[in-house]
């Protein structure tokens, strides 16, 4: 088979399709739980109780101070010694989610902080209860700040997810690696995987652009649009970032 037919063959083969689907699934699940963890840590950080605040700082220190790859291998190999045995897939997702939480916490916190104290006071003065203040005044404003960088986290997570191949989760990268090592056609196998990665990241960048339009408000804003190239290169200083 010539190079292009082999790439196409790999690209459409059930193993690659499955690997790509698993990569996407790992990304989504890890990000979802990562956001929940991040929300928890952000609230702990905002807490007036010193012990809770310290707990959050310790968490950030641990998970931002060690490599994600280290965390995955740690969860997979060390936790069983303490009686916590997770499947390969779960180990990967748990580690990625815990890692992501450390970064989401910062994003969520800056979003909540960007909504001035006076806005909450004004909402209270109107007779809103605390949950209403959060729901109708703080969150809608914070979300516009939180959502765009979360899109970047999605793309980052898609790429980070390849690390789970080290604990034998059959994600896109491992599938490609296995296919190649059977016949040493690395170029073709990795190209097929690369196309999937680029497809996902490009698709999501397009989705992200729509989300940022929403986030900058359904308003007459004359904000400069970030071009796709800028997005690819990560040079997003335009709309959607903290306003």
């Amino acid at each position: 088979m010539d190079k292009f037919s082999l790439i196409l063959h790999y690209f459409l083969s059930p193993r690659f399709v499955w690997g790509a689907a698993l990569t996407l699934w790992i990304t989504l699940v890890s990000l979802f739980f990562g956001i929940l963890v991040g929300l928890l840590i952000a609230l702990l950080q905002e807490s007036r109780r010193r012990s809770l605040h310290a707990l959050a700082i310790a968490y950030l220190w641990l998970f931002r101070g060690t490599p994600a790859l280290f965390q995955i291998i740690f969860v997979f190999n060390v936790l069983p010694q303490f009686g916590i045995t997770l499947s390969n897939f779960s180990s990967g997702v748990v580690a990625l989610a815990l890692n992501e939480g450390a970064y989401m916490a910062e994003i969520i916190r800056s979003g909540l902080q960007a909504v001035g104290r006076g806005q909450r006071t004004a909402a209270r003065a109107l007779g809103m209860q605390e949950w209403q203040v959060m729901r109708y005044v703080v969150l809608p404003q914070a979300l516009r700040i939180i959502v765009p960088p979360t899109g970047n986290q999605f793309i980052g997570m898609l790429k980070l997810s390849a690390l789970v191949s080290t604990v034998a989760v059959e994600d896109l990268l491992l599938v490609a690696n296995q296919a190649a090592s059977a016949n040493f056609r690395y170029l073709e196998a990795l190209s097929a995987a690369g196309i999937y990665y680029l497809m996902f990241t490009t698709l999501f960048m397009l989705v992200q652009a729509r989300i940022e339009d929403w986030a900058s408000g359904n308003r007459r804003r004359r904000a400069r649009r970030t071009t796709l190239v800028e997005r690819l290169l990560g040079a997003t200083g335009g709309p959607g970032r903290v306003r």
Binding site: G116, G118, Q119, T121, A122, A123, R124, A125, L126, G127, M128, Q129, Q132, Y136, V137, P140, Q141, R144, G217, R219, R220
Partner: protein, 248 residues
């Protein structure tokens, strides 16, 4: 009920921020339909007094009575009392993600459970009242300071409060916008809205005040009918303060 019956009664309020004694044994009565103007140097506790009156700040001792009910220790139920007391802030604090109309509609919709249609009709009427019907669909950052403050007044009025608290409503405004805001406040006062206004605008105080309260170092030093206060019966310290402001 008689017009002279107090709607708000503060009795012996003490408030501390840490070691700082911000309100010292403050007592004040505001009669229904009257306007009380509070003046005094910055840091004298004027704003804190307002924030204690609608329970945005807790008090260390003393009692707050509003509309015949003791509300001092409502705790988590404080939001119920705040629904009857409107408040306007120095920095407007319009909700940045909502248009002028939506700002006014938010509390009637979410707090009073009005329908969107009802709330919109009332909000438009209020925008008319503050003389800016054409700005309904503008966002706060597209409005001037004076316009934002008038929307903020409309937003507070939307809850149909029994009393309004104005915390330095014109201090953050450019001079040419002060009048449009003060005119709205004066008109409300004339219509019989009870109000407490913290302000440095003495000409406005003369026009609108029924009583003037002079505060200094967390204490009420003067509390007199406006005519008397400006007519010269105020304390020596208040006179000096007035002179400083007027010469300024």
């Amino acid at each position: 009920m008689s017009a002279s019956e107090p709607i708000l009664r503060l009795r012996g309020i003490n408030k501390l921020f840490g070691q700082l004694h911000v309100l010292k044994d403050v007592s004040l009565e505001v009669e229904r339909g009257r306007t009380v103007v509070v003046i005094g140097p910055s840091g004298s506790g004027k704003s804190t007094l307002l924030r204690c009156a609608n329970l945005l700040e807790s008090v260390h001792s003393g009692a707050i009575e509003f509309d015949g009910r003791e509300i001092t220790h409502l705790g988590r139920e404080a939001f119920k009392a705040r629904r009857e007391i409107g408040m306007v802030f120095q920095n407007f604090e319009l909700f940045a993600h909502l248009t002028a109309l939506e700002n006014i509609m938010l509390a009637p919709l979410r707090v009073q459970g009005m329908t969107t249609d009802e709330a919109a009709v009332e909000a438009r009427a209020l925008l008319n009242k503050v003389r800016m019907p054409e700005k309904a669909d503008f966002y706060p950052d597209e409005l001037s300071g004076g316009q934002q403050q008038r929307v903020a007044i409309a937003r507070a009025l939307a809850m149909k409060p029994k009393m309004m608290l104005y915390d330095e409503p014109t201090s953050a405004l450019d001079p040419e916008m002060i009048k449009e805001v003060l005119d709205v406040i004066q008109e409300l006062a004339r219509e019989g809205m009870t109000g407490i206004v913290v302000t440095h605008e003495m000409a406005f105080a003369r026009r609108v005040a029924d009583r003037v309260v002079f505060m200094e170092e967390g204490e009420i030093r003067d509390n007199a009918p406006a005519a008397d206060f400006f007519g010269g019966t105020s304390s020596a310290r208040a006179k000096r303060f007035l002179n400083q402001i007027l010469r300024h």
